[in-house]
């Protein structure tokens, strides 16, 4: 069995020591730090990105919250505005209606007065008109000249009979 032949024991031990020491020192000083740097760099990058993502998410949540708040506020304001303006409108309508009623009443009263006045005036004038017409008719048809006084008297008398 060649393994138990001590001829090359020293040689094997010597080269094992040389190569393994070289390997150990090379890996320890060169290769492993490189790999660990890369791994660390990657981990840092991942952590950084995760932190940024978390921050952004928090910001987004805050923004969403504030938007919701604003929307609610705006809704309340609009509701209030609608309520106030509708109340105002109702009041205005009532006022306008009242004013209109008053105006109409006044106009009706004035009109009634005017009508009454007109009526009275017409009634006042009617006597003289009647006298004039009668006089003209008599003159044209019967060629009778009559004094205004007589005519008025006659009319008064007739009026009294008519009434």
């Amino acid at each position: 069995m060649p393994q138990l032949n001590p001829e090359f024991f020293v040689s094997q031990l010597f080269w094992l020591a040389v190569f393994f020491s070289f390997l150990f020192i090379f890996l320890w000083r060169v290769s492993l730090p490189r790999i660990s740097t890369v791994l660390e760099k990657r981990q840092n990058k991942i952590d950084e990105n995760l932190a940024t993502a978390k921050e952004l998410q928090e910001q987004a949540q805050k923004i969403e919250l504030s938007i919701n708040e604003k929307i609610n506020k705006a809704k309340q304001e609009t509701d209030n505005l609608i309520k106030i303006s509708s109340e105002k409108l109702q009041e205005n309508i009532l006022n306008e209606l009242n004013l209109l009623d008053k105006e109409l009443d006044e106009k009706i009263i004035i009109s009634e007065k005017e009508i009454n006045n007109n009526k009275e005036n017409q009634m006042k004038n009617i006597n003289s008109e009647i006298a004039n017409i009668t006089k003209m008719t008599l003159e044209k048809i019967a060629n009778i000249k009559i004094s205004t006084e007589d005519l008025n008297n006659a009319i008064e008398t007739t009026k009294g009979n008519l009434n």
């Binding site: 069995m1 060649p2 393994q3 138990l4 032949n5 001829e7 090359f8 024991f9 020293v10 040689s11 094997q12 031990l13 010597f14 080269w15 094992l16 020591a17 190569f19 393994f20 070289f22 390997l23 150990f24 090379f26 890996l27 320890w28 060169v30 290769s31 492993l32 490189r34 790999i35 660990s36 740097t37 890369v38 791994l39 760099k41 990657r42 990058k45």
Partner: protein, 244 residues
């Protein structure tokens, strides 16, 4: 069977160049050559693949990182935070054994891990290192490692020698495990390879198919033994920190 056909012929050491130093024969042999190839493969692979140091790894870089994480995980699982200091050593040991085994799987290549002297040297480094570590951490109290608490007092005269023997046999079990696995696997491959040649007509196909399957198994064992070597080293380091 003639000596040149022996399945053990593959384990013979042939000097490539004869060197002598202080009366000792330190010839550069096929075993040394296999170690050289192993070290070159490991250093070049781990250096070149991580050369770009890119955050998004290339496939090759990913392999290096996987190996790194594999051993780092192993060490932190078994030893914990104390283990970080020993990461370069355990990683070197794992890679050296793993790639040494793999280089041995290449036909006509020498398997230096199939030599007890090599595995025993590696195991001794681990054993001596761990023992020194135990004394550094616990001083003279390290000897309480052999005292098992919670056992009836009359058992101690029996148990303490057993514990001492089992502790002292650690380098032997560690080295023989690797050596024997490599020796057995390669010998088996060679034996079946002999069948392929010696069997008549085309019946040699059957041992050939078996060799193919066995090669797959051997690659698995090559990895497994490197893993076992590394994990046992981790466990021993852990023992040096936590006595019981």
């Amino acid at each position: 069977m003639a000596a040149k056909d022996s399945p053990l012929k593959q384990f013979e050491i042939d000097p490539i160049s004869n060197i002598e130093l202080g009366g000792y024969n330190i010839s550069f042999t096929n075993s040394s050559f296999a170690m050289l190839i192993t070290v070159l493969v490991i250093t070049l692979f781990l250096t070149l693949t991580v050369n770009t140091r890119s955050i998004i790894p290339t496939r090759m870089q990913l392999i290096s990182e996987l190996m790194y994480n594999f051993i780092a995980q192993l060490l932190s699982d078994t030893v914990g935070d104390n283990g970080k200091k020993y990461f370069p050593f355990v990683f070197s040991l794992f890679m050296f054994v793993l790639i040494g085994n793999m280089v041995g799987m290449i036909p006509y290549q020498f398997t230096f891990t199939s030599h007890i002297i090599v595995t025993f040297a590696l195991a001794s480094v681990v054993f001596i290192g761990v023992t020194i570590l135990g004394f550094i951490n616990h001083g003279i109290k390290f000897f309480t490692f052999f005292y098992i608490p919670g056992v009836p007092f009359y058992m101690h005269p029996l148990l303490i020698p057993i514990e001492v023997i089992s502790y002292l046999s650690r380098p032997i079990s560690l080295s023989v495990r690797l050596f024997a696995n490599m020796l057995a696997g390669h010998t088996l491959l060679k034996v079946f390879a002999g069948f392929v040649v010696s069997m008549p007509f085309f019946t040699g196909v059957f041992p050939l198919a078996f060799i193919v399957a066995l090669t797959g198994l051997e690659i698995l064992i090559a990895f497994l033994q490197a893993y076992v070597f590394a994990i046992l080293t981790c466990l021993y380091i852990n023992d040096a920190y936590h006595l019981h």
